[in-house]
Symmetry: C2
Subunit: 409 residues, 2 copies
């Protein structure tokens, strides 16, 4: 039912709107981001959609239904990227959503529901250090304190205003009209490709828990301090990294997606001839099943105490700097997606999302679910991120069928 | 024979010439460094010494002997500091040397040899990223390429010229007149204090070998990439840090000082939700016995290959970015120092220096040796570095006696 060439053309056009020398970078709030949106807006208009920017700075294309009192079926994802990556992450979902609207027009299908195609603002961690601005903001879930986060002389309120939003009214945002929300996204993992499946129906979006730990030893002269008289923070932190990896690998073997990664690791004073005095590290934990995360955190608290004693360093109790619960997909929508896969003839599996998505925020106020399409080698957030256009087209067709199913309810 | 109060007064006065809020910082080439030198020059003059800056930017106070053809007895150390540390590191040796000259004058002792008191330029790693500028430069051992190293718009040649040196003639520097060189320094380690000894007679200055290793894994999405499909550079590098520590601790148990420290450790991309793709680390190795360093490097080369296989990462062969041999103290001077300790009644031990010193460079062209005095807790290169004035005075007395002994030869 959808046109794969049209999808390819749009994704290609957006890919070309990138920082030269840094493919494929289109950072939220940048001039390039606004250029990408101009393209999207023009394509929305060409598809007969009425466009607007909502209070949270989301770009929305709207098509009125025959019975608008039934509410809005919403499809979308995000067009911003991480630095040096994101040729398909987000944008594949925006274009697939747009293609559904075009396919409906092509076939002169009128829906009972209103339909909205959304490009959410700043899903990725942006210059303001936080993510999912648009999906949180649209649904009254953006913490007010975030509006004053500053980067390069601009605050987030100013950034939202610059793209056409209205930061002053975000606390009052609600979208009680959303009858159902669907997002297509690349898997950003290796499973679908490895299993030669077309579509992942996302049963749950893993909760993300970020945990900060500081290991404090003692700075000593690296030349003169005997090996057995040191309190080397890097040595203790290295043991911690290995132990975290092993604990996470064990939890990953039990049912439900689990991962924990030390992504940030900063050593002080980080000087050639000084025994490291301090390491600050940040753990990124993901759990489909909340009990796994609680078990991990309990283990971690006890374990750092043991390590501190063993290595003669101080380790403060781990701090959860952010902690989100897993978000299950809406049961009705999961069934609709399954039926849609059957109709399209797509080979699918139910699976969890290890990554966070706008869908998790919309799911707090409305029925929401998402599907994955395969991506090469499971690679994402890097230059070589790649999804085959035929796979995206299959996903778009599934969205199309699911929308038709949602509209009959 | 020496005046402890005079030593205390000078060390106190120099300590006050520091960056406010960053005790005790007097970085080479800074205005504060030049201010410290003005004080030193005035004190040298007050002690009846004739002052000059040599081509390498060293501040020298000279006293002519009765038989100048016998050559020069040289005493000295350095007045520059690391950032946020160095109340005694270096400066104790400069002031002790100056005190020897004053004590000789007090007692109207004329030497046969000429005597020079030296404040070497930039012993510490300076803004130009290299160390021992003055002692290398005085003896024709400063690599010419270093002169064009740039920091904040200034090159090293310009820096040397600014303090009164003559960078253009450094290649021709030789000091064939040095009959013997002695340096007093704080131990920067815990041994003398723990053993309640007054003086360490330094049998050898450990060779310093700096080894660079890069661990390359693969950047992956931390949320979606299963634990068993990662090539996490931080996990592999953490194992390497622990293995290096254990290998060094084993070598430290055999005769001869040995230490190895991972002091610099940089993670890329160092982002919360990305599996680390790269870690660059720098090992600082110290060996009193060269064979220990060779054994360590051999072990390391084989070990990184094994780690690379075990963790699915790439680790290039370790690179020795610098590699200095151990420097033994001059046997005759070690005996003279021992005799001097006996005369002063100082409790002493023979021991190695784990730290590098200007003495190592002078030793390449002349008989040279050094002594240590205790420092509290073995702490150095930090704000709480401390040496008791009485201990410095005992060391100065040992220098005084050793100079008298050297002069009789
Ligand atoms: N989908 C995605 O990459 N989201 C970014 C947030 C995260 O999961 O780390
Ligand atoms: N003595 C001293 O701290 N020298 C600095 C060079 C080193 O040994 O690391």
């Amino acid at each position: 039912p959808v046109n794969a060439n049209r999808i390819a053309e749009d994704i290609e056009a957006l890919a070309e709107i990138t920082e030269p020398g840094h493919p494929w970078t289109r950072r939220a709030f940048s001039p390039l981001f606004r250029e990408g949106r101009s393209y999207l807006e023009a394509r929305m208009k060409a598809a007969g959609l009425e466009t607007r920017i909502d209070a949270a700075g989301n770009l929305i294309g709207r098509r009125t239904g025959r019975k608008p009192w039934l509410g809005t079926i919403m499809l979308g994802s995000h067009s911003d990227t991480v630095p040096d990556g994101g040729r398909f992450d987000g944008i594949a979902g925006v274009i697939a959503a747009l293609e559904v609207a075009r396919a409906l027009s092509d076939q002169s299908i009128e829906l009972d529901h209103d339909l909205e195609i959304v490009d959410f603002l700043a899903e990725e961690v942006s210059i303001f250090g936080v993510s999912c601005i648009g999906s949180r903001g649209m649904t009254g879930q953006l913490p007010e304190s975030w509006l004053s986060r500053v980067s390069g002389g601009l605050d987030l309120a100013g950034g939202i205003a610059q793209v056409g939003g209205e930061p002053g009214v975000l606390a009052q945002q609600k979208r009680p009209d959303i009858a159902g929300f669907l997002e297509l996204h690349i898997e950003q993992g290796p499973v679908l490709e490895a299993e030669r499946e077309d579509v992942g129906i996302v049963t749950a979006i893993a909760g993300i828990t970020r945990i900060e730990i500081t290991v404090e030893g003692r700075a000593d002269h690296a030349g003169t301090t005997p090996m057995d008289r040191r309190a080397d923070a890097l040595v203790a932190a290295s043991q911690l990294v290995l132990d975290i990896r092993n604990a996470a690998a064990e939890l990953a073997k039990t049912p439900g997606h689990f991962a924990a990664t030390v992504g940030e690791f900063r050593v002080e004073p980080n000087a050639a001839n000084v025994v490291p005095s301090k390491v600050a590290l940040l753990i990124d934990g993901r759990a489909e099943i909340r009990a796994d995360m609680e078990a991990f955190c309990r283990w971690l608290e006890g374990h750092v105490e043991k390590l501190a004693t063993a290595y003669g360093v101080r380790i403060e109790a781990p701090t959860r700097v952010s902690d989100n619960l897993p978000t299950p997909g809406d049961a009705g929508l999961l069934s609709a997606l399954e039926a849609a896969c059957e109709r399209v003839g797509a080979k699918y599996r139910r699976m969890a999302s290890g990554a966070g998505h706008d869908t998790a925020w919309i799911a707090k106020v409305a029925p929401a679910a998402m599907i994955f399409v395969p991506c090469r080698g499971g690679r994402s957030h890097c230059e070589d991120e790649w999804a085959d256009n035929d796979d995206i087209a299959i996903g778009a067709a599934v969205l199309f069928e699911a929308v038709r199913e949602m509209d009959t309810d």
